[in-house]
Each structure stands twice: as structure tokens, then as C-alpha cells.
Symmetry: C2
């Protein structure tokens, strides 16, 4: 099997590390793996398939292929680069990589709504991938787990409207946020005062109805990501969506209370039947045994879990459901690696 | 000012203790306070206005008034009894008290949907109180804080439909539940295994989409309480409501993401204007300063806090908002004491 040179930009971050782990776990055909981070992390090593790989500092020439006559680069020319180093790094470096013929799979929000950039959840819209579109966007974590479940229902019954409330884990805000929750919990246990740094307010034993910054319309950027990205991925601007995004003191695993109104009637039983056949989706819905998705159970799992599927008795064609997935895996690193796999399947890599 | 004999049944529980505290804080005109609990708590004392009051064991004759010829009871004949000792105690003892002419204000769900029993949030429907209806129900905590905010908007614009997702604190499940969260957090910190006792699953760092038991329609009892009690309190069966109730690792303060669709258009600005004038409601809604309601800030406060009021762009006449209140105070003990105050205002006490 042909192997490919893969880069991970932002390799030392929470998602970056998961990207490296997912490349190994998914047995992605990696020839050489190059890891990039800021100067601060230069020289750190990360383990990949039993080998320690030294982290390089990301520079504008990191993706450069030597021109004829130049001294050939010592480093492997990349086929794919997975980016998870924040929006401004993506804005600056993704075009540099793309220019050198590298497929960029970008986990930031920088490119997602660019009409030239495919925004891909492989189960749903991998047909939007194209050999010419070197920059590919990985959607927002909350969006991915929701559309994985809703797209099959949309195909069956046409979703007219979505009302979603999220319960999002702190790991979505990076390693520092995880540490902040741990430290606040231990500070409170020893009667000390809590000083929020990463989050705008105490997150321990609290719910913060703000994720990302506020926009002029009163919504947060996270909420509008769910609205806009869902429409783009499901390729249907007519779906009406409204979202409330809330940070909760959970380490890993986003949960969502999702209410949908469909054009055609769909019973909970039918919805379960449809979803049971969807790869990557696990129906956990046996209330007689108190079984439903939980973030602690979804953590470290690849799948998106759905349960509490029940008829919404307040409208004619409505369903409520509860969707949970690991925000760092299907919500980020795994979906990015799966996009890479799709590039291979579609023979878009190499030349 | 006339003073009244007041009893608290279930006085040693989390809500019972808050009832005693609220009677004092609200300066309720108490002549004698009698405290009741199960045999286990007999002889315990609770402080009220600087005096230690001994807890009596609740028995079928606790509310008995001595008949002519009988030896007169040593204990004060009650005017009001606040009950918070669970549904089965309420079912059995509330009628015994009512029979003796005692007004029962019951915090359990036992009597709430009885058509003969007023279900009261004083700001909204105290006109349903009546001298003949000795048993009065205190609504579910999640319902109270929602209707306090929604009733004024309903009067203005007629609410057609409500979609609500809750983020409920563990104290709603009593003292043992509070201890369970504390113990699980400390067990996890020291690498020990967590054994859920009060909740069906680990609550530390988790979200459990189940509060109370499941019903045949796939909803939990808590979710259907929100649906049915809201209609009864707002005296409008035509309001369509659907709820998802979720337990989160917060000690005190329930939060709710509430989406409403109204018959007449109401802007966020108008909604804020209306709500600012409502007693017991505080509008905390300045996103430019990252101000919105938070459970940690609502804890120990009497008010219901509302913020993140914004237009729902997915329908013509829709609003989203975030409502937070202390589930033990306005959600339970305070509302019960306020019902008692209303009985006094309406001259229904004494004879």
C-alpha cells in the first residue's frame, strides 16, 4: 500500500496530540510524520508507532519543496498537513502549504465558511472534496456530532428546524482549560478562592452560557458556527437552526439536547432503525435499563452516541434526542484523519 | 401584627432547613414554630431566631386539635404546615393536617396536578388560593423559575410553544446527592473508583439526561412536570411545551436554555423592559461585559435571573433566553413561604 508524508501543525496541543494518536490508531498509511509547533515547543518529542518524533518549529518555509538547483530539503515533502494551531496560524500557513501542493485539513474556524473550501464530515459530504481544493476545513466539534446524527434523518424526513442546547466539555478549550477545571475543583476543596483565567467565569460546579466571543446579533460565535456550518455540511440553507452553547464542568465529551421538526413524520422507532445502520453512530436508548449516552462513557470513543429519542408532543412532526461524542475525537482529530482517509480513497493524494 | 403557628414537615432535609431559614429571613409572623421529621431525626434541634427548636416525630396525631373533654394538646395548633418530606408522606399526612384546618403548602409532586389543589407561584396565580382549599401545592423547582420569567411575556405576546433544556443542580436531589458529588470528585482526585448511589450514573464531571423516573411516553417525570405544571400555573392548556431535563455537576442553582415562540412579535429589548419591572426577576444581560446569569452567582439568592435574551432567527416570532435561580430558594423553600405570606395578605389564615 502506498504511504504518505503527513504533517501535524499544532502537534503539542490537546487536539494535535489526539491527531497523532488517531493517525496511529486508524493505521493511516504514514511514510514520514512531521510535527510542527511554535518555537516554545521546538525540540519536544511525541511518540508515534513506538518512535520519538522531534517537534519542528513552524516557519513559512516548513512546507517548501526545494526548487531545481536548490539544496534539497532534508525533510520529507508533505502530502497532507493536519492543522490545529488556532485560526491565525491557519489563516497564514494553510495557503503556504496549499501552494506547495499539500492538502491542508484545518481544524480551526478560519476557512470553514469560505465558499471555495470544502467543510467535510466524511459520512455526509465527502463528495465536496476536490483535487484542486487543497484547503479543507474540519467542522466545529459541536456541529460534527449533531450532523452525523441529523443528516440521515434529514434525508428521510427533511428537517425544517433545529433547536439545540449544548453541554460542552472544557477540553474543547484546550489543555489549559482542562487544568483550570482541575485546579478550581481542588482550590474549592481546600477553601481557596478561584481565579478564572481561561474561562470568563468559574467553571467548577458552574454552567457558563458563553463559548467563544459574542457577535452583534447577541449569539456567540460558537452558536453561529452550529447554525452556519450545519447548513453548509448538509447542503441545505433552508434548515432553520437556533443554538444555545453552554460550557459545563465535564472534562471530555460534548452533550447536546436536540429538538427537530421534520416535514414528514418520523417516529422514534423509525429514527432508531435509521440511525442503527449509520457507521460511526451508536444508538444507546434503553430507558428501561436507564441507558442513554453519557459524556463519561463517550470519552475516548470514536463514535457518536444518540439516545432519549422521543416524540416531541408539542408539534406534529417533532423529535427530541440526546447526542454525545468525544469532542477531541469525532469532534476534531478523528474526523480530520477520516478526511485524510477519504482523500486516499478518492485517489486525490500523490500525483 | 397577628402571628401564626407554623409547622415544617421534613424539617431536617435540605429544603426543610431552607424553609426554616426563609421563615426567619422573610420575617414571617411566626408565633410558634414546630418542626417535624421521621423518627430518625427526633430530638435533633434546628435554630430559629436564635432559639433551638426540638424536632418532633411526625405522627398521624401531630396536627390533632384536642376535642372538648380531651386533655388539651401541649403543642400549638398549627395555622400553616410547610411540607417537604417526599410524595408519600404528603399523600398520607397532608389530608390529616387539612382536616384539622391547617393550610398545607406542599413541596412534593403528590398534589400538584389534583384539579382541586391550587398550584401556586404567588407572582402569577395567587388568585387561585381559596379558604376552602387547605392543601396548596408548591410547583417543581425547574417550573417555578421558568414561569416567573415566561408569564409576563405570555401576557404581552402569548407564548405558543416552549422548548426548554435544563442544567439542574444536584441539591435538587437532596443532601445525599450533594454529598455524592463531593465524594465522587474527591474519589476521582485520588484515583479511586466511583460508585453511584443517589444518581443512576456518576455525576462528577458528567451530564445525566435523566431526572426522576421514566414514563411510558419516553419522557422523565421531571420533564412532564415542566410541561403540565407550566400549563396549570399559566392557566393556559394551549401552550405547547417540550422539555429535556439534565442533571449537571453543579451544587446549587438550576439553569435553563429556554426557546419560546410567541403569537405576537416581541423584541429582546421589549422582553428586557417587561422583565425589569417584575418583582423577583433580575435581568442580567450585558454581553459586552460578559454578564449573564450563572448558577454560582444565583446560589443563595432569592431572585430568578434571566439573560442572553436574543431573537431566535429560525422563526418569525421567537426568543432564546437563559434562566437561572437557586433551586432550593425560589425553586422550593422561598416560594412556599411566599405562598404563606399570600395567605396572610388575603386574610385566609386564622378565623
Amino acid at each position: 500500500m502506498k504511504k504518505y508524508n503527513v504533517g501535524v501543525v499544532g502537534a503539542t496541543g490537546l487536539v494535535g496530540r489526539e491527531m497523532v494518536r488517531m493517525l496511529e490508531k486508524q493505521n493511516f498509511p504514514v511514510a514520514n510524520l512531521r510535527l510542527f509547533a511554535s518555537q516554545r515547543s521546538r525540540g519536544k518529542t511525541l511518540k508515534f508507532k513506538g518512535k520519538e518524533i522531534v517537534v519542528e518549529q513552524l516557519t513559512p518555509s516548513s512546507f517548501k519543496v526545494s526548487s531545481p538547483g536548490e539544496k534539497p530539503s532534508l525533510q520529507a515533502r508533505l502530502d497532507i498537513a493536519l492543522f490545529s494551531a488556532g485560526g491565525s496560524i491557519s489563516k497564514e500557513y494553510a495557503p503556504l502549504a496549499a501552494q506547495e501542493g499539500v492538502f491542508v485539513i484545518d481544524n480551526s474556524s478560519a476557512w470553514r465558511m469560505d465558499p471555495e473550501v470544502p467543510l467535510v464530515v466524511p459520512e455526509i459530504n465527502s463528495h465536496t472534496l476536490s483535487k484542486d481544493k487543497k484547503i479543507i476545513a474540519n467542522p466545529n466539534c459541536s456541529t460534527i456530532q449533531m450532523v452525523v446524527v441529523l443528516a440521515p434523518l434529514h434525508r428521510k424526513a427533511r428537517i425544517k428546524r433545529i433547536v439545540v442546547s449544548t453541554y460542552q466539555a472544557v477540553s474543547g478549550a484546550g489543555q489549559k482549560a482542562v487544568v483550570e477545571l482541575e485546579e478550581q475543583v481542588s482550590a474549592i476543596a481546600s477553601g481557596k478562592k478561584v481565579k478564572p483565567m481561561v474561562f470568563p467565569h468559574q467553571i467548577a460546579y458552574n454552567c457558563i452560557p458563553q463559548i467563544d466571543v459574542f457577535l452583534e446579533n447577541g449569539y456567540t460565535k460558537e452558536e453561529m458556527k452550529m447554525v452556519n456550518e450545519t447548513k453548509k455540511i448538509m447542503e441545505d440553507d433552508s434548515i432553520a437552526i437556533t443554538a444555545t452553547c453552554v460550557r459545563v464542568p465535564v472534562f471530555r465529551g460534548h452533550s447536546e439536547a436536540v429538538n427537530i421538526e421534520t416535514e414528514r413524520k418520523i417516529t422514534p422507532q423509525e429514527a432508531r432503525q435509521i440511525l442503527k445502520k449509520i457507521e460511526g453512530v451508536v444508538v444507546v436508548d434503553d430507558i428501561s435499563k436507564l441507558k442513554y449516552p453519557l459524556p463519561t462513557k463517550a470519552a475516548d470513543n470514536d463514535e457518536t452516541f444518540v439516545g432519549r429519542i422521543r416524540e416531541d408532543q408539542s408539534i406534529s412532526n417533532g423529535l427530541n434526542m440526546w447526542i454525545v461524542s468525544d469532542n477531541l475525537l469525532k469532534g476534531a482529530a478523528l474526523n480530520a484523519v477520516q478526511i485524510g482517509e477519504e482523500l486516499i480513497n478518492r485517489k486525490m493524494l500523490g500525483s
